[in-house]
């Protein structure tokens, strides 16, 4: 079985089957680039992901492993030709997977899924963040995301008027 060593930003290494790793668009490209540049066809690729720490990388690989038999979705919602693939549904496993995570981890996971081009994981994590916004009041959202209003002067009031125009027209 062909393996690839994936190394996180904080130096932890994960040994992963190439078949599984290739479900990430980014890792697939890296593996293929390594293959083209390597004289030894048996050599094990080593890929450093400098923007993802071990805890997050582990979660991505865990998700990939669970979904290794799913159809591969494209990295972008709409491809160059203007036609995207339908979104994947969220399974009970996905819900259990995301349930214990705090919002900060989920947001790190979104950035990681985008960087590694794992469309299905990007879908479910984005939808989770979306659910923290949809149907909430502005104050509730600020509390959930630990945000402070940085509007100055009448900027907030002006934004309210602009939104009002869009809602009423």
């Amino acid at each position: 079985m062909a393996l690839v060593r994936v190394i996180s930003s904080d130096g932890a290494a994960f040994l992963v089957s190439q078949r599984l790793a290739k479900r990430s668009g980014k890792l697939k490209t890296e593996i293929e680039t390594f293959r083209k540049s390597s004289d030894n066809s048996e050599a094990q690729p080593e890929i450093r992901i400098v923007t993802i720490r071990a805890e997050i990388l582990r979660l991505v690989l865990q998700w990939l492993q669970q979904h290794q038999n799913d159809p591969v979705l494209p990295a972008n919602q709409n491809e160059q030709d203007g036609r995207g693939d339908a979104e994947m549904g969220q399974s009970q496993w996905d819900r259990d997977f995301l349930a214990p995570m705090d919002l900060g981890i989920v947001m790190e996971l979104i950035l990681a899924a985008n960087h590694l081009e794992v469309k299905g994981l990007l879908d479910i994590t984005c939808k989770l963040v979306e659910s923290k916004i949809t149907g909430r009041t502005v104050d509730e959202i600020r509390t959930a995301f630990k945000l402070k209003s940085d509007f100055k002067g009448n900027e907030e009031e002006q934004t309210r008027l602009e939104n009002r125009w869009c809602v009423e027209n």
Partner: protein
């Protein structure tokens, strides 16, 4: 102090991970599938992860927090990923820090109310929402795309927001000015406005939709007032507008309507996308010499004149802006009728990458076969029959299509033909009712493979056309994706042809079958995927996956 306390936690976490890994490794043999296996490395490496040597233990957390305040967003993400200690130090601020980077991805899942809600959370989130909406809505590439996925919420949401900026009467303009408190910034003295630089953009999508209507009296006065009020608004804020959708609807005097439109254009110096409809006087010519000169719109790159019926007006716009356009949508009949000299037409669009032709007829295709435009995406939207030459020319229709396509052999990356080619009169080649026979028919020997063509889109019933099938197999060797519309299809066995396509076209990854929009919910869109795309074996049969409509 917090840093010191965090170390045992870090050690604990790493140990926990190691235990988990061992368990995963134990289970691996049983599963026979691969797998996140283990965190590898020597004891030294594990120790490095645990102690995070990049963290200077001399500095207390408060100092680090102070240092982090001066970092850019990108640098903060680097810090978060550097070591457990720094990550934990920023833990309470992580959602705040990461939101600007995460929000653009999440917006893709929002509808209109969510987008507007996000604008109210903070100035930062408002800027991100506005930038994301605008970069989508004023992109020529995105505007040109034909979308068949109604599950994509963001395009629909932006469309809905854009519809809010529709001005069809003086009352619309007045309500807009009143709602957004713009009155004090409007000044009829244009020179004063030019010096007034501190107003902000009131057009969220940086686009507007306007209707130019000039009926006869007594309503004429009302429409003249509308013209003046919109002119005043655009004099002050027109520079923020990058996209204009203008409709001229004038049963009495279309020249007057076009003239008003040109006056509006003079207030929009940064226009990038221009879509004009002027079809109320069908076929009637407009004397363009009587129109005011068109403004210099240096950023204009997308022009849609497909709904201008007067050929002379369409020609005026294409000739004025032709050399700078990257995208053009026009009537096939314009190419046929345009008074533009053939030599001029040949080099009229030196930057044109995307072309959509609506109502393609044989004369259109003949002209297209002789131009020097660097087209990357060519879309034949609909086909027309020319009555006066139907018998002679329609017999060559497919050949004319392929001749026109061949003219762009070196540059074309995507070809879309919205037609059932079997319903066009066919050359006498083979029995085109049988796709397998079609697949085995001799290929065109003089055809050069199109080196960049990756995407092909057509009606699935066109697979029954021998000529088209031969074209795919011989000329589209590099193709990676085929999209077939099935809405009007009577083609019974596309799967066999798809297998042949996977066999004959080595780069083909996917074949999509799209049901028409009129299909009932629950009908599946089918995607055929080459099974070898995930396996290490070099060849194999296509796998089939079916995706439910969401």
């Amino acid at each position: 102090m917090e840093m010191e306390k965090s170390r045992p936690d870090s050690l604990k976490r790493v140990k926990l991970e190691e235990n988990t890994k061992e368990k995963e490794k134990e289970g691996e043999d049983e599963k026979q599938s691969i797998v996140v296996i283990e965190e590898t490395g020597t004891e030294d490496r594990k120790l490095k992860v645990a102690r995070s040597p990049k963290t200077n233990p001399v500095l207390v957390p408060e100092i680090w927090e102070h240092v982090f305040r001066y970092l850019s967003r990108k640098e903060v993400i680097t810090v978060i990923n550097t070591c457990i200690e720094w990550n934990q130090l920023l833990d309470s601020k992580k959602t705040t820090l990461l939101l600007p980077d995460v929000l653009p991805f999440v917006l893709a899942y929002f509808d209109k109310p969510d987008l507007l809600l996000c604008r109210s959370i903070s100035k930062t989130s408002k800027q991100i929402v506005d930038q994301t909406i605008q970069s989508y809505w004023i992109s020529s590439e995105e505007t040109f795309k034909v979308r068949y996925e109604d599950s994509d919420r963001f395009p629909l949401a932006v469309h809905a927001v854009s519809d809010s900026f529709r001005f069809t009467s003086k009352r619309d303009v007045e309500t807009f000015i009143q709602t957004l408190n713009l009155q004090e910034h409007l000044n009829e003295d244009q020179n004063l406005n030019e010096n007034h630089n501190n107003e902000t953009n009131p057009f969220l999508t940086r686009s507007i939709n306007i209707l130019v209507n000039t009926p006869s009296s007594p309503q004429e006065v009302l429409y003249q007032q509308f013209f003046q009020s919109l002119q005043l608004l655009l004099t002050t804020y027109g520079r923020f507008i990058h996209r204009l959708n203008g409709v001229v609807w004038d049963m009495m005097n279309e020249t007057q309507g076009i003239t008003k439109m040109v006056h509006y254009l003079h207030q929009l110096p940064n226009l990038k996308i221009l879509e004009i409809t002027a079809d109320s006087l069908a076929g009637e010519e407009i004397e363009v010499m009587g129109l005011p000169p068109l403004p210099s719109l240096e950023d204009l790159e997308y022009l849609d004149v497909s709904d201008i019926l007067a050929e002379s007006v369409a020609t005026l716009f294409t000739q004025t802006y032709g050399t700078q356009l990257t995208t053009l949508v026009c009537e096939g009949s314009w190419l046929k009728l345009t008074s533009t000299e053939e030599l001029v037409l040949k080099t009229l669009f030196p930057k044109l990458k995307r072309l959509r032709l609506e109502g393609v007829c044989p004369s259109t295709l003949s002209k297209l076969s002789n131009v020097n435009w660097p087209l990357e995406i060519l879309h034949f939207d609909t086909f027309l029959t020319e009555e006066e030459t139907a018998t002679e020319i329609d017999k060559k229709m497919e050949q004319l299509i392929l001749n026109a396509v061949r003219n762009f052999t070196q540059t074309l990356t995507q070809l879309e033909i919205n037609a059932d080619l079997t319903k066009l009169p066919q050359p006498q080649l083979a029995d085109d009712d049988n796709h397998e026979e079609g697949a085995e028919a001799p290929l065109e020997s003089d055809v050069e493979v199109m080196p960049k063509l990756k995407v092909l889109i057509s009606e699935v019933s066109s697979m029954g056309s021998t000529l088209f099938w031969n074209f795919i197999l011989s000329k589209c060797k590099k193709i990676e994706k085929i999209h077939f519309h099935t809405k009007h299809s009577s083609f019974e066995n596309p799967m066999e042809v798809a297998k042949t396509a996977f066999d004959k076209l080595p780069n083909l990854e996917k074949i999509y079958f799209w049901p028409g929009p009129e299909e009932e919910d629950g009908v599946q869109r089918t995607v055929l995927t080459r099974a070898t795309s995930l396996s290490s074996t070099p060849t194999g049969n296509p796998g089939v996956s079916q995706c439910q409509k969401s």
